[in-house]
Subunit: 357 residues, 2 copies
């Protein structure tokens, strides 16, 4: 799901997002609550009409954003008090309010307000957070009266038992899908995948699973391998805006001087708008010249790359050879990066040897 | 002609530019000569293929840009020596080089290297500049061997006789069109139009007339009224990127708080992509939230506005009622701005009166 935090996938029209093959857009209830305001969007006919997107919209409740505010927010049983990052105004966000905001926006997939602890949290604090999140989730279920699908969020920080309890608890409530939160927030990757496995093991089997805030092509493959169905991440568009593009051979940086005369598309066989119309050399020029079009073309390519990747994984699963497919993909995707790392290491060792001589 | 200085109309794809109704794009030979370099573009199949634009391209020679460099350039009979604004490297640009560069780019409409004096120049200096420009133009005519149309440029600063001589001189050379340069560069508007009239009075009647670096909707109307056929200006896209949009009632600023709930397009009846898909309220939100899409939608609307304006003028000329049409347009376009000025004056006078009491 491409990220359109403020009711716009950065730099792209709804048609362009649709053409990448993306089916759902993620918007952020917290940001839209503060600006332009929920009443404004409701008065203008809801979020779909406001932003011109007629596909499904998933809205994050804003819990993660509020908790990122640090000293600007205060947590109570009732909810969370915070000051706007825009104008310092004081707000209280409760589970009921998170539901009302998302119902007013007209979201198709609604996320509950939850507590998202940092990976460094203590086990006892994480347990408290989990229990509060559970009580909030029950209030969300009771309060939500919109037409969308309500998901639960399984947290649990870096504690296996807590991850399992949180995932299991979702099955006791009448929810439409399961999100796994609090991963890929700075912890080592090996821990990400271990915690994901604990969560997925206990999630209801008959509901879609959504891993929040992930991610990169390799992380999508690792996530799907562990049973995840849905992802959202701003990475594809953020990297795209800065000239870093996904290819089946790993990321490339459009600034690289080696691309000055590259009269080929970013990726042979890619059917995205950028690859069908422009050469790497032109994209290289646009990035170097700081032309706005560079960010658009990069974002379009990266989103299309992820959509094609998801489709390829779906195909491999249906064909029953996801294991071989994913090893093949990851080998190709990381090979260049790996050889670059080895190169750097060789150069470093040569430099050290020269210093010692 | 929308401006695509560095081989890109800022933020827009070639398809989008085409959809605005624009027929010719202006690119800048000086900028492209420095980056990515003429050899690069030639090797990649020429400027049209490089940037994916299959319509005509007019290239400015770069004279105006070189003269804007101030102390970084030195003028001789041979040409102009300058240092790159990018990396300080030393270059010499001659009339012959300007022709070779534009031929290599594959320009359809080619501009000669000229001397563009500032409006404050003395008459004797302006006369020297005119004579040098004439000698350079003859060298351009002799040197150009591309397939494009070569235009002349009539300068003459703010001196009526010089404007007339420069315009008349173009008729003596085998050129395909006439440009009027050095106007709208900071002088009062009344002088712009007086000088334009002097130039046009002496230009060959059977060649298209191109007023360089203009401009705003009202200036296009004033220019056409005086016999101009072509214009280029970055204003439409620059204003569009900053949330200032053209309407038949004058410019509007999308930041204005009055637009927060405006559930109508920028201009009723406008068929541009932005007006067909989005409300003023959404554009207002995008500008306030600093979303990239705002600049695109604004640029598209402004370019379409100018293309529709030119088409309307063509229609009025053919219908034989351009006089009445242009008075009607200018009355509507400036009425709001005028009443706003009067408002401000009233408020100012009231404030002064209050101070005196």
């Amino acid at each position: 799901m491409p990220v359109g935090t403020q009711a716009s996938v950065k730099g792209l029209t709804p048609e362009e997002v649709h053409a990448t093959g993306a089916q759902v857009i993620l918007a952020n209830a917290y940001h839209l609550y503060l600006r332009p305001g929920v009443d404004t969007i409701r008065e203008l006919g809801g979020l779909h009409r406001f932003m011109g997107w007629d596909g499904p919209i998933l809205t994050d409740s804003g819990g993660f954003q509020v908790f990122s505010l640090g000293h600007l927010r205060k947590l109570t049983e009732e909810g969370v008090m915070f000051r706007s990052h825009l104008d310092g105004s004081k707000h209280i966000y409760t589970p009921e309010k998170a539901m009302a905001v998302q119902a007013a926006l007209g979201s198709d997939i609604v996320m509950p307000l939850d507590v998202c602890p940092p990976p460094s949290v203590s086990e006892s604090k994480a347990l408290d957070d989990f229990r509060l999140t559970q009580r909030w989730l029950q209030r969300c279920v009771a309060a939500y009266d919109g037409a969308g699908a309500l998901f639960g969020i399984a947290q649990g920080a870096m504690f296996s038992q807590l991850r399992r309890s949180a995932a299991r608890a979702l099955g006791d409530l009448p929810l439409d899908g399961s999100a796994i939160g609090g991963l890929s927030v700075g912890e080592p990757k090996v821990q990400t995948w271990a915690m994901l496995e604990e969560s997925v093991a206990e999630l209801p089997i008959d509901r879609p699973r959504y891993m929040m805030g992930v991610g990169s092509p390799e992380d999508l493959v690792e996530g799907v391998a562990r049973g995840v169905d849905m992802f959202d991440c701003a990475l594809a568009t953020r990297l795209g805006r800065h000239g870093v593009l996904f290819t089946s051979r790993g990321r490339i940086n459009l600034r690289s001087a080696t691309l000055k005369l590259a009269d080929t598309p970013v990726e042979a066989g890619c059917d995205c708008y950028s690859c069908r119309h422009f050469s790497l050399a032109y994209l290289h020029h646009l990035v170097r010249a700081k032309e706005l079009l560079a960010g658009r073309l990069g974002s379009i390519h990266n989103l299309r790359f992820l959509a094609r990747l998801m489709a390829a994984m779906r195909g491999a699963i249906l064909a029953g050879d996801f294991g071989a497919w994913s090893r093949g993909f990851l080998d190709g995707y990381t090979a260049v990066a790996e050889s670059r790392r080895l190169d750097q290491r060789k150069r470093y060792e040569a430099a050290m040897a020269a210093t010692r001589r």
